[in-house]
Structure formats: C-alpha cells, structure tokens
C-alpha cells in the first residue's frame, strides 16, 4: 500500500477548514429545521387531517 499522503495542511489551514465545515454543517441543519417548521406552520391544523 502506498504511503503517499498528498497535501499536508498547516495547523492554521486545518483549523480554518474545520471551522468552515462546522459552520456549513450548522447552516444546513438550520435550513432543514426552518423548512420543517415552515411546512408545519403553512399547513396549520390541516396537517392533522389525514384520510384513513
């Protein structure tokens, strides 16, 4: 197996990338939450009306 490692990030680059990844993750999670609750808010009580 090759021991090639590719580019090695400096500590500052690695720290910045991790912070950016966390921020993107949080933003995507926030979008999911927003769309979930917005859907419920737009449906209103009708969301409980299900044909049996």
């Amino acid at each position: 197996m090759s021991d090639k490692k590719g580019l090695v990030l400096s500590p500052a680059q690695a720290k910045a990338r991790r912070a950016r990844s966390i921020a993107i993750g949080l933003a995507l999670a926030a979008m999911v939450v927003i769309f979930y609750f917005a859907t419920i808010a737009k449906f209103g009580p009708a969301i409980f009306e299900r044909a049996l």
Partner: protein, 314 residues
C-alpha cells in the same frame, strides 16, 4: 513532478489553501448594513395589514437579511480592487487576501439563490421577486455600473437600500401600497445626504480609488448644497406617514422634530468653511443620519403597534 509525493505542504506545492474563518465569510455579508436591512424590513412587515404566522415572518426577515448579505458579498467580489486602496475598506476579507475573489462570488451567488428561493417557497413569490430585483440592482446596477461611472451613483443606487421595508410589506401582504412606497422614499431620500456627508470627509479615499463621488467631481460646495436640498426633502417625507393618515400625531411630531434636526445638521454642513479640514459638521451629520433612520423607523413601528393595541390601527 507530482505534488503528492509525500508530506508536501500546500505552501511548498504552490497551492493556495484557504485560512478563511466563518467570521471572514460573515464579514462578506456586511453585517452592519444587514442590521439596518433587518430592522427596516421588520418594520415594513410588522406595519403591514393582515397577519402572518410569526415563524413565517421570522423566515421572511431571515431570507431578506441573507439576500442583502449576498448582495454585499457580490459587491465585495467586484469592488476588491477599489476596496484595497480605501482606508475604510482595505481590511475587508477579499482585499486583505483572506478570501479569494472567486470564493466571494460563489458565496454571494449561492446565498442569493437560496434567499430568493426560500422567500418564494415559504412566504410568497412577489416578495421573492422584489428581493431578487434588489440583489440585482445593488450588485449589477449600482456596484458594476453606477458606482464607477457617475456622481449620481448613490442617488440611484440608494434604491437598493430602500427596498427592504417594501419587501417586508410585500412578504406580509403579497403586494406594495402607498405606505410601503413612503417607507421606501424615506430611505431613498436619506441615502444621498448620508453618503455625501461621509464622502466629504473621506474624499481622499474616494479620489485614490477613482470613484466619482459628488465631492470629487462637483466639489465640496456643490455637495453641501445638495445635502441641504435633500435634507429639505427628507424632513417632510418623514412626516408623510402621519400626513397620509397611517400614523398618529405623536409620530408626526416626533418625525418633524427628527427632520428639523436633520435640516439643522445639513445647514451646519452647508455653512462649513471651505478650509475646514476637521469637517466636524459633516461627521456630525453622518452620525446623526444613522440615528435619524433608526429613530424614525422605530417611532413608526412603536406607533403602529401601539395603535393596534389601542384598537385604532390597521
């Protein structure tokens, strides 16, 4: 030679890897401008007749804020060359080298698309269309065209900053009305004296950057006259919500007092000596104009809410 031989650092390989933090990307959104957008859009939304689910209203404000931020990022992408030579803007993420111009462009475009789509899908497409137009107007009409070509740049370009209360109103009602047009006009007429006061005491910056601001093109005396003229327009327009019957006399008196203050500050700028290097009246007007806008919108908001609570409002 391949750059993946073994443990080669990005710097050694000549590859530019970003050290930008989330804070740098947040700075691309021009948070101070965004706070004004959020506030004025909220006033438009709350003052509008009808009721909007509070969560949907919150999403509307968030989408408008992100759209405004996106247009800020697009502005910083395009203006990196002139931001670099101006003291006020040299430390912005793109000219300071923390974020590549291309990254700012993609960031701005993605946020523009997300904000407009979110506003359209969750709130209504009329408001989303207005938001899209505002982003286009700020990024293309103002930033790419007017800013570098005419001293009237911020007169016309100021419309972009004036749209948020109208978008807030449209989010609540699905339409625009006289009330939202007056809120638009207050910001539209406020923008030139606000930025020309800044341009007076930062004219060296604008000159170095080659931006044709009014003081650099027409001179300080003409700018001071224009500032006074606009202040005489904004004072009555600030009172218009009361004059047209959708704000109380209490608001009218307060708006009149704020307007008189604006004219007084503008008069001091007008009367400023030609050789005044400190330009204290211009700095005072710039600071007062910010207070004026927040105060007049806050007064309108409180007046509307109080009117509803008392059972007189719409």
């Amino acid at each position: 030679m391949a750059i993946v031989d073994n443990h080669i650092s990005a710097t050694e390989a000549g590859v530019r890897l970003s050290e930008a933090t989330p804070g740098d990307y947040f700075a691309l959104l021009k948070p101070r401008v965004m706070s004004l957008v959020v506030f004025t859009a909220m006033v438009g939304l709350v003052a509008a007749p009808g009721s909007l689910n509070p969560f949907i209203a919150l999403v509307a404000i968030l989408a408008i804020a992100v759209g405004a931020g996106a247009s800020g990022a697009l502005n910083m992408w395009y203006d990196a060359d002139i931001d670099m030579v101006m003291s006020r803007t040299a430390d912005r993420p793109v000219p300071a080298g923390r974020i590549a111009a291309g990254e700012a462009l993609v960031f701005g475009l993605v946020l523009s698309a997300f904000s407009v789509m979110t506003l359209g899908v969750i709130v209504n497409w009329f408001a989303a269309g207005l938001l899209a137009f505002t982003i286009f107007f700020y990024a293309v009409i103002y930033t790419m065209w007017l800013k570098r070509s005419t001293p009237q740049n911020i007169v016309i370009g100021g419309a972009a900053g004036a749209f948020p209360p109208m978008i807030g109103w449209a989010a609540a009602t699905g339409a625009v009305s006289l009330e939202s047009v007056i809120l638009f006009l207050i910001i539209f007429l406020w923008t030139p004296p606000h930025f020309w006061a800044l341009a007076l005491f930062k004219s060296g910056d604008y000159e170095r950057a080659g931006i044709p601001m009014l003081p650099n093109v027409a001179g300080a005396a003409a700018t001071r006259r224009q500032i006074l003229a606009y202040s005489l327009l904004i004072a009555p327009v600030g009172v218009a919500p009361w004059a047209f019957g959708f704000a109380s006399a209490v608001y009218g008196v307060l708006a009149l007092a704020l307007g008189v203050g604006f004219v007084w500050h503008a008069w001091r700028v007008f009367a400023m000596a030609e050789d005044d290097r400190a330009m204290k009246p211009a700095k005072a007007l710039f600071a007062y104009s910010i207070v004026y806008l927040f105060a007049i919108f806050a007064a309108f908001l409180i007046d509307t809410v109080a009117g509803r609570i008392a059972g007189f409002g719409g």
